[in-house]
């Protein structure tokens, strides 16, 4: 069978040599799939870096895919900074939501959400707020912002648009080779 190449498209060394120093950290991190520093959160205009880092942790806990580097989740949640800049209601939805989540974490673990070590403990905290508007907005947005990212697709073995490649008629539409003989 023709398997899908799940490696990231860009080679690290090529990236480091390239003249991409002016590109925003998120774009670089996403297009290369590299592990990233905290720079992306410091670039935010409206939301505090700590707030964005909480959203990142929350995104990973809502839709945990261990094969995906943080960069894909950053791409998914970073637009909240812009939305918060444009709409004060969004800004307070996020700031209040993160504050409540941290309050839940402090009540149970004496530390903020991002520092709670085990995913299962953090998920228990999320379950307490899962009916809130804040949680539902973040979760509902992630369904599109995480899974509709073309750079994520190969990681799941999905190939996306096919017509420009002539469809799959010569590219493995019927190449399954492990089924028992009918």
């Amino acid at each position: 069978m023709r398997e899908v190449d799940r490696r990231s498209k860009y080679d690290r060394r090529v990236f480091l040599k390239g003249a991409v120093a002016t590109a925003p950290a998120v774009a670089i991190a996403t297009s290369t799939g590299l592990g990233i520093t905290d720079a992306w959160a410091d670039e935010a205009s409206t939301l505090a870096p700590a707030t964005l880092k909480t959203l990142l942790k929350m995104a990973r806990d809502i839709y945990p895919h261990d094969m995906l580097a943080d960069s894909y989740y950053v791409t998914a949640i970073k637009p909240w900074d812009d939305k918060a800049a444009k709409d004060p209601a969004v800004k307070s939805l996020i700031n209040d939501g993160v504050a409540r989540l941290d309050q839940e974490a402090n009540d149970s673990h004496k530390m903020p959400y991002v520092q709670v070590a085990w995913e299962s403990d953090r998920v228990a905290l999320l379950q307490r707020i899962e009916h809130s508007d804040f949680f539902q907005k973040i979760r509902g947005d992630l369904i599109v912002s995480l899974y509709n990212n073309k750079e994520v697709w190969p990681k799941f073995g999905y190939e996306g648009s096919s017509a420009e490649h002539g469809g799959y008629i010569k590219r493995g539409f019927a190449d399954i080779d492990w089924l028992p003989k009918a």
């Binding site: 945990p64 697709w153 073995g157 469809g167 539409f173």
Partner: protein
Amino acid sequence: MAKFDLNDSGVVVIVGSGAGGGTLGNELAQKGIKVVILEAGPRIENQDFINDEWESFGQLAWSDMRTTSGTWRVHKDFPNIPAWIVKAVGGSTVHWAGASLRFDEHEFKTKSAYGNMPGANLLDWPITLAEMEPYYAKAEDKMGVTRTNGIPGLPGNNNFKVLEAGAKKLGYKEVHTGRMAINSEPRDGRGSCQQIGFCFQGCKSGAKWSTLYTEIPKGEATGNLEVRPSSMVIKIEHDQSGKVTGVVYADATGAMQRQKARVVAVAGNSIESPRLLLNSASSMFPDGLANSSGQVGRNYMRHMTGSVYAVFEKSVHMYRGTTMAGIIRDEAKNDPKRGFVGGYEMETLSLGLPFMAAFLNPGAWGRSFTSAMDGYSRMAGMWLVGEDMPRETNRVTLDPTIKDKFGMPVASVHFDDHPNDVAMREHAYKQGAAVYEAVGATVTYPTPPYPSTHNMGTNRMSEKPRDGVVNKFGQTHDIKNLFVSDGSQFTSGAACNPTLTIVSLAIRQADTIAGAMQRKEI
């Protein structure tokens, strides 16, 4: 191409250009009758279709405001998207999967076959399979349905091969790549299927039959058909004698126009068609046009649906190739011993990664959800589609408060599953999982119904005017020059996909309209 005057009162106006409206328009044009098709959506040609689920949804889907109520899960997860249908020239034949099956004989007489079902509003169709057979044959030839007219079946893709292997292990007998209105070899000026895998996003190669690039250009070539895209019909008008005289529509600029007509045929799909009749209420017809029975909007059917996805140890890549070219028909029979009446089909189905995320289990999160998504490339999938019970209380009404940009009340869709639908779905989930477990599935996912793609029954056919909206030719009982030409005519929904029956009824209706016009009855 023809261009008819707004004051030309000799034209037949058809509202909608999908399987019903597009087919009727061409059939009438071929007979020399002047036709104006008013299509609410834009004209998007197949080279402009997009192989991207969300982008394509934005390009094609009917996303105008609608509201919902009832116990169906769609109301909770997608409260303003009761149906996944198309707003563009070609209607939902742009995104349909191509499955083209005939009803069984008993499916035209469900009241007789199923008896008295509490909570269901069953009724026999005023037509029989024998009467429909010649029209089914014409439709299959027109659409180039595989496994008819000597047309070979489509080749099976990976998703089909998994389904077939499991079905055979389970002892199912009728398993094949379907009767599909998708060219398995070049035919009718269109090429053969390239296994692109984006049937739902509009077929870029044109191998799949759609009125957009078959019926409509053929009708236009006669000089008798004019299609006006981006023309949303607001109201049907009538004279003092009760005959319809034309329609008022908003054109592409939003300006109101009045097109006069000798005959009006409504083919806006089963949500918009009753909405238009209800929105056309007048002092003479205070409950809406053609609604003396009170049945306009009632008996809304959407099929018992659900999906089963299964994950295997090794890759499947179900998204490669024709989406729905695969079927198991053994459960389509009526066998009440299973605990429900009617039957269901099992048909291959796949979603791309973005729609899988949106529809696998809407609202779900956490590791059980992401574990399913991690298995995407090793996943096979099937759609379960079966007959649902018509219920008077499942209905399309006018929303009491919300209006569209033209000031007209939007459609509100209420739906509750009948206990028969629930029993059938449970059986289908179990059998679907068994098919995949027979060939080594490590986990199976019973996936809830999506927003409705099959919308039926809201202007149903009946022998007696008190039981339904239209007669056996789709002519309204109340107004002789007003017709209904889409799936809203269906008296019952049958197990199979509805398009072939809609097309067959439209071909038959064209004969009726042409004959009645010739005899000056309308």
